[in-house]
């Protein structure tokens, strides 16, 4: 309980700091948002003042932040300067695609990454060597490059999969998101595979595993209950953090595949200085990142009693 | 009452807490110059905390530490003060593996310490001093070029002793310094430590849970239990005629001929197969 309370307090503090940093960064960013509002046209001073009033551009920084934050907590992220639409609505419209993309990639990472890592960790020899070689290569490929290469091979040359757009309906969406998800997940799959392999190797060498063997437990039981059980701690942590970091990379992949998701919209809005949208999306992305990290922390506590109970011998 | 000058190390009313845990509780003892005191106790009794306070690695909540008649309770402020304190007290740890820099040869390690404390020496004299130190601890000239990992456990511990001696300290704190060594090597190092004390009149504070080692190397002894000093006296008194129940229990726990009877005397079904 004390553990949960502590985590909750840290969570709130992190989100507050993050929201402040986001707001401050936008505030200090070069270029006046008023330019975006007027679209470069000359406007009457009265109109200008009205705009400034409406977007609170003249109030002191802290008071602007306070307004923004209290509105954000109520789900009101303001109005887009470019489209005059409600930012929350804009975000909800596009969140689906980003969410499906990241989820899809996450499933790939968990299934393929951990799967390959298990194979390599438990099967020394050529299986292990191939996984190690392939993952060292894949880990070095950035998402935008894998996007280009995958598109060239599977969309242009082989025409197996669509290269652009998100598709309609569940199946079509799934097909359309396959290439983006793979390019998003590729280097993370490699990282997770390697961490999984190393953790399993390290754990197998532990003395407590030898104890388990010496007690006559079947190999399966030793591997599942001792090697994998303990290796699950670092594997879960790294996998969770890797998946959380996809949130940032998703913007690149969405742009490359013309997906109308949050990341792509973030890029578009920042180039057009659409302040409210940039702040809103950043806040949502940071929130997602922080929450994922909390999930990782909780998983860690569930898996490791030393964290849950605190290290105290009686 | 002895004169204060006569004392190499004096600890009085020492107290240290970590949060709500009292690690050291009102501990006082003194060692005369050239003497050797054993600080006995089990793990968690506060022995190492005391060593750290004496070395200035931890600060005390209350109490005083004096070495060679000079107070060293407060942190050293100047480099000169730190150097002076280093010449008063040095330490040799249990595990020479982790206390020696793995990338530094034994020779350059010793030379650095000699240079720090004798800035008037020229290079040739320094090298001579390093050779003397190696010779003193029974290492060979060729060990100047050796890295710690190229040496055996006993050799590493000798090197650590040489490093402590390089500062020509008044007091050496031996924190379980022979505990990790094999029996045959431990005997060599114990002999070496006894010789050095005789030759250099250096003072020892020996921290150990091994009563036989305490017997072999010290004149006086104090026993600690849960942060408190429960018994003190000459080593012979403490070990032969322990007064405190805790000391008695420690003494009875040492394997030995008396122990055999105690162990075998426990009731058992198959009594005829007794340990002879």
């Amino acid at each position: 309980m004390a553990f949960l309370a502590k985590r909750a307090a840290i969570l709130v503090a992190t989100i507050l700091v993050a929201s402040f940093v986001i707001f401050a960064a936008m505030y200090m960013a070069p270029g006046k948002p008023i330019g975006a509002l007027t679209g470069g046209r000359s406007v009457s001073p009265q109109a200008l003042e009205a705009l400034e009033q409406r977007y609170r551009l003249n109030e002191p920084f802290l008071s602007q932040y306070g307004h923004w934050l209290s509105n954000a907590i109520r789900g009101d992220l303001g109005v887009s300067i470019a489209t005059k639409q409600d930012v929350s609505e804009l975000i909800v419209e596009r969140a689906g695609i980003t969410l499906s993309l990241v989820l899809y990639a996450a499933v790939l990472i968990v299934v393929i990454g951990i799967g390959l890592g298990l194979l390599a960790g438990l099967r020394p020899g050529w299986v292990d060597t191939s996984v190690v070689v392939a993952s060292s290569a894949a880990a070095a490929v950035p998402a935008f490059l894998s996007a280009i290469v995958l598109t060239l091979i599977f969309a242009v040359t082989l025409s197996w999969l669509p290269a652009l757009g998100a598709g309609e309906g569940v199946v079509d969406r799934f097909v359309h998101l396959t290439l983006p998800a793979i390019s998003l997940a590729l280097s993370s799959i490699a990282v997770v595979a390697r961490v999984t392999r190393t953790s399993i190797r390290e754990e197998s060498r532990k003395e407590h595993v030898q104890t388990a063997v010496s007690r006559g437990l079947p190999r399966r039981a030793v591997i599942i209950r001792h090697v994998l059980r303990n290796a699950a701690i670092p594997i879960t942590t790294v996998t969770g953090i890797t998946i959380a970091s996809l949130i940032a990379v998703s913007a690149v992949v969405e742009s490359a595949f013309s997906l109308n998701g949050l990341g792509q919209y973030l890029i578009v809005s920042s180039s057009s200085k659409d302040l409210a949208v940039v702040q809103g999306i950043s806040l949502v992305l940071v929130l997602a990142f922080v929450l994922l990290n909390v999930v990782v922390d909780l998983a860690y506590a569930v898996l490791d009693p030393r964290v849950r109970l605190g290290a105290k011998a009686t | 009452m002895k004169l204060t000058d006569d004392l190499a190390l004096e600890v009085s009313g020492l107290r240290k807490t970590y949060g709500s845990v009292v690690a050291v509780d009102d501990v006082s003892f003194a060692i005369r110059r050239g003497g050797s005191l054993g600080l006995v106790g089990e793990s968690g009794s506060g022995k190492t905390t005391i060593a750290k306070i004496i070395l200035g690695l931890e600060s005390a909540a209350a109490g005083q530490v004096r070495a060679c008649g000079r107070d060293r309770t407060a942190a050293a402020r100047t480099l000169g003060e730190r150097r002076r304190r280093a010449r008063e007290v040095q330490i040799v740890f249990q595990d020479p593996h982790s206390s020696l820099d793995p990338r530094q040869t034994i020779g350059s390690m010793l030379e650095a310490v000699v240079r720090l404390h004798h800035r008037d020496l020229i290079a040739g004299e320094r090298r001579q001093r390093v050779m003397d130190l190696l010779d003193m601890v029974g290492l060979h000239e060729r060990h100047t070029a050796a890295l710690p990992r190229e040496m055996s456990g006993g050799q590493r511990q000798r090197a650590a002793i040489a490093r402590a001696l390089a500062a020509e300290p008044e007091v050496i704190v031996l924190d379980e310094s022979v505990a990790a060594l094999d029996v045959s090597i431990q005997a060599q190092v114990l002999n070496l430590l006894a010789d050095l004390r005789e030759r250099l009149s250096v003072t020892y504070l020996l921290i150990s849970h091994d009563l036989a080692v305490v017997r072999q190397l010290t004149d006086t002894a104090v026993v600690m239990c849960q942060g408190q000093l429960v018994e003190s006296g000459t080593t012979a008194q403490v070990l032969d005629d322990p007064q405190h129940i805790y000391t008695q229990r420690l003494r009875a726990s040492v394997p030995g001929p008396t122990w055999v009877r105690r162990v075998s005397a426990t009731p058992s079904i198959l009594d005829e197969g007794g340990a002879s």
């Binding site: - | 456990g153 045959s184 009563l211 105690r262 198959l270 340990a275």
Partner: protein, 353 residues
């Protein structure tokens, strides 16, 4: 339990025709080497020993002499890539030939406890889980029954509140308690042999005494045979019927525990006994053995391994590798032993010259 007998005191030296029948464990000319960077590294050389039913045999020697490897070889736990010659038999069965279920049931018959319970017990599983795992998995005992047995066994090693302990995790217990948990759980499968690899080295002295007392009681009650690994001759004597001394991967002396300590046959055993400081009196000088212990790789095959450190060395010692030969009631691997008595006094005397 009634079928087990205290071991023959000098099983190695004597023909195995005594009342207790054949020994429980027979290790015969066991040599082990490990591949290190492509070349074979010798670790054990010609180790032969027997452990009678219900007998406690101590294996004494300095770090790296091969004590742990001997125990691991008996439990078929040598590291991958280890090569082994010679034979190990348990109750007449060839251990090397065991596979699958037979090997698992053999391992349940042979319990092993390790030096540091902190690392030998899985830190993320509860004590109850650790203790009952083998019963539940291998013999399909129901969880409740297994837990009951665990609580009873904990009571026998002096842990009264077993039920509560079962729910705790290793990091919540002190080292001494954890070692008792280790002992209790190793006994749950009703083993016939206990391999105890320095079970008290990581513990405080008074805890060590308690743990040894518990082990001693239990082994007598259960008629357990024990291979007790230690570097402390005195501890070996308090606990074991016979003592085997190892040096550089081979056994250099076997005999009655008191005899090995009080009237050692081999110069190395004598040196070990004399090198240890004493708690009851201060010695003017410890009789340190000069030099450092050799590992099995460094030791010669055509001379006595101990020769470089031996105060009794003569030319003949370098002319061949001594065999382990019977002498008196024990066995010794030294050509000069027996010719002149190597008591502690004599060794001291010679060392002083």
């Amino acid at each position: 339990m009634t079928g087990s007998q205290p071991g023959t005191p000098f099983g190695v030296a004597r023909p195995t025709s005594s009342a207790s029948g054949p020994p429980l464990v027979e290790v015969d000319s066991l040599s082990v080497s490990i591949q290190v960077d492509g070349s074979a590294r010798s670790i054990l050389r010609n180790v032969s020993l027997t452990i009678g039913r219900g007998e406690a045999l101590a294996l004494v020697g300095e770090s790296g002499s091969g004590k742990s490897m001997t125990a691991k070889a008996i439990d078929r736990l040598l590291p991958a890539g280890a090569r082994q010659t010679g034979s190990i038999s348990f109750d007449g069965q060839d251990v090397a030939k065991m596979t699958g279920a037979a090997l698992r049931s053999y391992r349940a018959d042979v319990a092993m406890i390790f030096q540091d319970p902190r690392v030998a017990i899985n830190p993320v599983r509860s004590i109850g889980d650790f203790m009952t795992e083998v019963l539940r998995t291998n013999t399909r005992v129901r969880s409740r029954v297994a837990a009951d047995r665990a609580v009873k066994m904990l009571a026998r090693v002096g842990i009264a509140d077993g039920q509560r302990r079962l729910e705790q995790y290793p990091h919540e217990l002190s080292g001494g308690l954890l070692q008792r948990v280790m002992i209790a759980s190793s006994l749950l499968t009703e083993p016939r042999l206990l391999l105890a690899d320095e079970p008290t080295t990581a513990l405080d002295v008074s805890t060590q005494a308690e743990v040894i007392e518990i082990l001693n009681d239990l082994r007598r009650e259960l008629g357990l045979a024990v291979l007790f690994i230690t570097h402390d001759l005195e501890l070996a004597r308090t606990f074991c019927d016979r003592t085997a001394v190892m040096y550089a991967g081979e056994i250099v002396e076997v005999g009655d525990s008191s005899a090995v300590q009080e009237a050692p046959l081999h110069p190395y055993s004598a040196g070990l006994a004399a090198a240890r400081p004493r708690v009851d009196r201060r010695l003017a000088r410890l009789e340190a053995i000069p030099g450092r212990p050799l590992s099995a790789v460094e030791a010669p095959d055509d001379a006595c391994s101990f020769a470089p450190r031996c105060v009794h060395r003569v030319n003949e010692c370098d002319e061949g590798h001594p065999e382990l030969r019977p002498l008196g009631l024990g066995m010794v691997r030294c050509i000069r032993a027996g010719g002149t008595a190597l008591t502690e006094k004599d060794v001291n005397h010679e060392a002083h010259r």
